[in-house]
């Protein structure tokens, strides 16, 4: 009991909330869940957006335009303009790798610029000081490793015109090493004047010094310009052009920063919020439905209370206000709880992604998101208000007389009797309860069917994405070595040498003959002939679409083909190359080959047909903890051949797959939870409405077990109907998606997806069990006399 003074009839709300804490638990959970989801999604969208922005600034710089062909004086004037926040001069030399410019044995790219460029325009991480005079340089981090120099050391830049000596003042992590790991050189940053001296000495005065950075450079240094945040960048650029008579050729836009400033559209960044808004809408509807059906259930459990309120003089409006405020009262504790859980979860997620997944997630560090918090609060309040509408009207519509006499709960008119001939009576009644309310049955079945269908569709989507991402393939190399002249000239011994290196999991090589004239089933054409070694055949087993892989073994005339939409070679097709007749024994969905019509044979067969024994392509898979030196050793071993380091790409595509998986499973989780909540509420409501009837049944001899069986049968009826519809719809869509997206591109034929079917069936069964549990407990606790006395 409370000692607080009751100021209005609404003061009853917190008192009633205290006594009905148990019944309200589900509603509180619903609100917490909705708030949690929305806050998390928006917070993470903000984290991703900011992370993406940070990554883009690091990659592309924070400048908006690069102006070339202007005098120093014009540069000063531009810098002084009101809408310009920063400028920096840059002159690049050697980006196209002019032979003969080296520090030690490493080629060097030189930049003449100022500290603003490193610090503000590029936002590079750096240490030490920026060169203060013409005899100092700052090197990039790669140079520190490759040259083994430290701050304060002296270095010499060799040029065709002579040597130039400098003192090293610091190091920076520049874009060369972030994104051009293949580049085997170093970068030096110096004053504009120092670079001018090198250029002049080598006869490059005023010549093209552009390259990757400033393709529009027409002579001498270019000016990087960053506009003030609040200004309209498009107008500012137009103003600059007009005032200084600059043409389009003088100005190169940084599309990324222009996009972020809203001057052009950036799809990635807008995409996050679009996705979040979509999820917001989904959760609003789903949360609204969930909370609404929960509230309906509590209203129907308290129908006598509302009837009593009406009896003692509450108007309809007052009852509605009561129910609405009662709902808002739950927000008081549910919203902060949802926000809190979301913060912890978001923090844990970003920590997990940063530590375990890495790649692009390194930029996604945790932050408190105002947008996330505001949208969380908004979704809590709005869903509750929307959700309370129907139950409030229902409560207000209770007739005082009917409520007090206890007849308000009886449902619609019954026109047909339950069938007790085929089932036991409690089962018959359970099925009848589900089937008699047609609208409810359709809604419940469709809700189950919706989950089943979406589940299967998502699984098909996951299969597709897995096929799309090369990093998910078994034969995906971390580093590849391609023969320098694109012929089978790489020594076979290299494979063994690489295999023996520490941190190398496997090395495998291929030889290839391109566009070999051949007769395909008697018709003239051409094929690409590729050889696989044993390791590659071993991993090809998993991607066999048709035929028998075991035939392609040793020196044989059997070959396999990689599925190709255009060539459509099939098992049994005959190919004649020169004097050799080959037969396709097997088709695989993926593999290392060419984009054209490729057939794969063993190394022995390849040798017999072509007489060649060496490789064109050598791949190596590294272990997770492979030391960096391994790649350096491979570089040394490979000689003149070219190395393709794909580790960064793999990491990125791995992290993309992670994101897709998290998003897909998260979405599935939401749908599954909505279904579970939905059926729980429906069963709970159905039980509430029939509580008196159940009391009477207990009195005339129905046992608790029989009663629970009756309720379970009701839930099972919804589930079975839903599963049947879901299986039909889901399998059709699964087949359609797999045929259109997967099999048409990667080969194969549709099979019933047994695993996802089993999983979703299990989820549905579990949701039924969960749905029956709460009412079962209520029935166990039900005192028969309570309901009997009300009769």
């Amino acid at each position: 009991m409370t000692n607080r003074e009751m100021k209005s009839y609404l003061s009853l709300i917190p008192i009633s909330a205290k006594t009905h804490r148990k019944q309200n638990r589900l509603i509180l959970l619903c609100i917490i869940f909705a708030v949690f989801l929305v806050t998390t999604v928006f917070s993470y969208a903000e984290i991703m957006t900011k992370g993406e922005e940070a990554a883009m600034v690091r990659k592309h710089g924070s400048y908006h335009i690069i102006v070339s062909g202007i005098s120093e004086e014009t540069g000063q004037q531009i810098k002084a303009r009101e809408n310009v926040s920063r400028t920096a001069w840059l002159r690049a030399f050697g980006e196209d790798i002019y032979e003969g410019y080296q520090i030690g044995d490493k080629r060097v790219v030189m930049y003449g610029t100022t500290q603003e460029y490193i610090e503000d325009i590029r936002k590079y991480q750096w240490e030490g000081t920026y060169p203060q005079n013409d005899h100092e340089v700052m090197l990039n981090e790669i140079a520190r490793e490759r040259l083994g120099v430290r701050t304060g050391d002296s270095i010499t830049i060799h040029t065709p015109a002579g040597d130039f000596n400098y003192a090293v003042t610091g190091f920076c992590v520049d874009e060369w090493q972030l994104y051009n790991t293949k580049y085997d050189g170093v970068c030096a940053y110096m004053s504009l004047n120092a670079l001018k001296q090198i250029c002049e000495a080598n006869g490059y005065d005023g010549e093209d010094s552009g390259g990757n950075h400033a393709a529009v450079s027409v002579g001498g240094p270019v000016l990087y310009v960053q506009f003030a945040k609040e200004c309209n960048v498009k107008e500012a650029v137009a103003g600059l052009k007009e005032q200084y008579g600059l043409s389009d050729g003088n100005i190169e836009e940084n599309k990324i920063t222009m996009g972020m400033a809203g001057a052009s559209s950036n799809q990635t960044i807008n995409g996050f919020y679009e996705l979040a808004a979509g999820v917001f809408g989904l959760i609003l509807v789903a949360g609204g439905l969930m909370i609404s059906s929960c509230m309906n259930s509590t209203v129907s459990q308290r129908i006598r209370f509302f009837g009593m309120m009406r009896c003692i003089g509450a108007s309809r409006q007052q009852v509605m206000r009561f129910v609405r405020l009662e709902a808002l009262n739950w927000c008081k504790s549910a919203i902060p709880a949802g926000l809190g859980i979301s913060m912890v979860f978001t923090w844990a997620l970003s920590e997990f992604l940063q530590r375990k997944v890495g790649g692009e997630f390194n930029d996604y560090s945790f932050r408190f998101s105002v947008i996330g918090i505001v949208s969380g609060i908004l979704v809590g309040v709005v869903t509750v208000l929307l959700a309370a509408h129907a139950p409030a009207r229902r409560a207000a519509g209770v007739s005082p007389v009917a409520a007090v006499s206890g007849n308000a709960q009886t449902g619609g008119k019954i026109s047909r009797a339950a069938n007790t001939r085929f089932f036991r009576v409690e089962s018959a009644l359970g099925v009848y309860h589900a089937v008699s309310a047609k609208k409810n049955l359709i809604l419940m079945s469709l809700s189950f069917a919706f989950t089943v269908t979406l589940f299967l569709v998502f699984f098909a989507g996951l299969d597709f994405v897995r096929k799309l991402l090369p990093s998910e393939s078994n034969l995906n190399p971390d580093v590849s070595i391609v023969a320098v002249d694109n012929t089978n000239s790489m020594d076979r011994g290299l494979k063994e040498k690489i295999t023996g290196l520490p941190g190398v999991e496997a090395a495998f090589g291929s030889a290839m003959w391109f566009a070999v004239p051949a007769e395909i089933n008697g018709a003239p054409g051409s094929v690409d002939l590729v050889s696989y070694d044993e390791y590659m055949f071993q991993w090809t087993k998993d991607s066999v679409v048709s035929g028998d892989l075991s035939k392609v073994c040793g020196d044989t005339d059997y070959v396999l083909t990689i599925f190709n939409e255009d060539s459509r070679l099939n098992t049994g097709d005959r190919i004649r190359i020169g004097e050799t007749d080959l037969e396709i024994a097997c088709v695989v969905s993926e593999g290392i080959g060419t984009n054209d019509c490729a057939i794969v044979c063993t190394e022995e067969t390849f040798r017999r047909i072509t007489g060649e024994d060496n490789y064109i392509l050598l791949n190596a898979q590294l272990t997770k903890d492979a030391p960096e030196e391994t790649v350096d050793v491979i570089r040394e071993l490979m000689g003149e051949n070219e190395l393709e380091d794909r580790r960064e790409d793999i990491k990125e595509s791995n992290s993309s797959f992670w994101v897709f998986r998290i998003a897909a499973y998260g979405f599935l989780g939401i749908i599954a939870l909505i279904t579970i909540f939905n059926i729980m509420n429906n069963i709970s409501m159905s039980v509430s409405a029939k509580m008196k009837q159940y009391g009477a049944m207990r009195a005339v001899g129905m046992s608790i077990e029989q009663m629970i069986k009756m309720i379970a049968m009701e839930a099972a009826t919804y589930a079975v109907c839903g599963l049947l519809i879901g299986y039909a719809g889901g399998l059709c869509l699964h087949r359609l998606i797999m045929n259109k997206l997967v099999y048409s591109h990667f080969g194969g034929s549709w099979k019933i997806p047994a695993e996802p079917l089993a999983i979703i069936t299990l989820i549905v069964i579990l949701s039924c069990v969960a749905a029956v549990r709460a009412p079962a407990r209520r029935i166990r606790d039900m005192a028969i006399t309570e309901t009997i006395n009300e009769l």
Binding site: T410, K413, I414, S415, A417, A418, T420, R424, V425, E426, L429, Y432, H433, S436, K692, Q693, A696, M697, R698, A699, V700, G701, M702, S703, I704, E705, Q706, A783, I784, T785, I788, N789, L791
Partner: protein, 227 residues
């Protein structure tokens, strides 16, 4: 031999200062085949007493023996079966299952026992209760009197030794009330069943073999009716 023995039943609701004694040391016994009426003011404790006898509620202390069996010593599961087979209930609000027909409602307790109903006995009951024409009707298609007759049929179908009726005529007009009472009496004689009935109606009480009065939780035996 006594079919029912009630020994020193006490029932207290709440505790401490808020404790309310609904039944105070109630003891009585009813021989087989007797038709007993319980009368009393509203809130005097008669429904509580009936619930105790029917094992729907547990007493604070005391004992109820039906056919010599202590109902409160039984476990929930066996008590449910015992109730299903040995006690028939008739409620004021009929309490039929709306989705079952007249016939299904009557055989409901038998079905709960996973037994086949005795068709001959069912036909006999339907004819005694004058419900043959209505056997396939739903409760919503019946009048109040007819619904109560179905409820009586349901109470009789398992041939229980004890029938408990809580104001079975409370919702019926005079003519239907007389018919229902006549039916109960006839059943009691024909099938040798013991009936305990709560009623407010003096006229109906007078038709009973014996009248018990409950007042403030105390039971007084008013003895056999002279009528």
């Amino acid at each position: 031999m006594n079919l029912l023995e009630v020994n020193k039943i006490c029932k207290t609701y709440g505790s401490g200062e808020a404790a309310v004694q609904a039944l105070k040391n109630v003891s009585f016994s009813v021989p087989k085949g007797e038709y007993v009426a319980i009368v009393g003011e509203s809130g005097s404790g008669k429904s509580t007493l009936l619930n105790m006898i029917g094992a729907l509620d547990t007493p604070t202390s005391g004992q109820v023996l039906i056919d010599g069996k202590d109902t409160f010593a039984m476990k929930e599961k066996s008590l449910t079966v015992f109730r299903r087979r040995n006690i028939g209930f008739v409620f004021q609000a009929f309490n039929l299952i709306p989705e079952l027909t007249v016939e299904q409602n009557i055989i409901f307790p038998v079905l709960l026992d996973y037994q086949k109903p005795d068709r001959g006995y069912l036909e006999e009951l339907l004819s005694v209760l004058n419900l043959k024409e209505r056997r396939n009707h739903l409760p919503s298609q019946l009048s109040g009197g007819q619904q109560q007759r179905v409820a009586i049929g349901r109470a009789l179908i398992t041939r229980p030794s004890l029938i408990l009726a809580d104001e079975p005529t409370g919702n019926l007009d005079t003519q239907n009330s007389s018919e229902v009472i006549a039916l109960l009496k006839e059943a009691s004689r024909k099938y040798e069943q013991t009936i305990i009935m709560i009623t407010h109606n003096r006229m109906i009480a007078q038709t009973a073999d014996r009248v018990l009065q409950v007042s403030d939780g105390v039971l007084t035996d008013l003895g056999r009716c002279s009528a």
